[in-house]
Amino acid sequence: MIGAPLVALSLALVAAGSPNDRLGAAVASEAHTESSRFLAIDVFVDSGDWPLASWQIEIEDETHAMELVGIEGGEHPAFARPPTFDAAAFLHHRVILASFQLDGPFPTHRTRVARLHFRMREQSIPKLVAHLRAATSVDGELIAADVETVPGEEP
């Protein structure tokens, strides 16, 4: 006689789920509404005929819709290692990248010096502004160069 109500109560509790389950469902719902995607941005420097021995670039996300999640090195062996940056960039919408090399060979003309990985909202349109702060040749003299950021391959 008493066993039937207890079984019914147990079934009702199982159907309601634990508090942790409900919390997980809420997080999943939020993740669904705020769906994000990842985007890779390649950073190129064109130093013309000058051998590129060092560079420093400032990149800012004007839309504030992107979150920096990773930084890779470039394609040339001189800058294959990830550039130096301030770890606070992961919390901001701005990053300053820099790298230098003392021993050659050094790249000339257009070369990819870094790749940045961003996480962004699905519907947002990225708008990055890149500014070359300095670039030097082998002897440490400043040289003129162009910087360009283009969407890279999807990870």
């Binding site: 060092s54 130096t84 301030d86 960039a89 003392l102 300095a134 002897d139």
Partner: protein, 138 residues
């Protein structure tokens, strides 16, 4: 005699002197009485000798410091920050590159100790590189 015992001619504290004067009256004057004209002559001679050597030495040190600051500003007017090797007013990768080149060449470079640890080594290059990429106010 114990070493910490005060000598008899050492004066007592001011408060104690005042109490003693109230109790026993003013102490008798000791020493040789000096006429006032002799005192005036001695003061005039001391004034004719000029400032004391300590004051003169202090003035010379202050003058040397001012000259050193002026000479440094004339040599590198744009060098406003520590580590600004090329003196363009900012610390960037060009300064880091030049510092690394100077370190590798082995030249004696007095401005290379940017982290102020007394040595010019790779730590200075790393220190300057971190300063170059540091995020400030946008």
């Amino acid at each position: 005699m114990p070493r910490d015992r005060k000598s008899s001619n050492q004066l007592a504290p001011i408060g104690l002197q005042r109490d003693l004067r109230e109790a026993y009256g003013a102490p008798p004057s000791r020493g040789v009485a000096v006429p006032s004209d002799l005192l005036e002559t001695a003061r005039a001679k001391a004034g004719a000798r000029g400032p004391s050597p300590v004051r003169l030495w202090t003035r010379r040190v202050a003058l040397a410091a001012v000259l050193a600051v002026l000479m440094f500003r004339q040599q590198s007017p744009g060098a406003l920050h520590a580590g600004d090797i090329d003196g363009n007013g900012v610390v960037d990768i060009a300064d880091v590159h030049r510092l690394a080149l100077a370190l590798r060449s082995g030249e004696l470079y007095f401005g290379g100790d940017v982290n102020r640890d007394g040595y010019f080594d790779e730590d200075d290059v790393r220190y300057l590189l971190a300063a170059a990429v540091r995020l400030g106010p946008s």
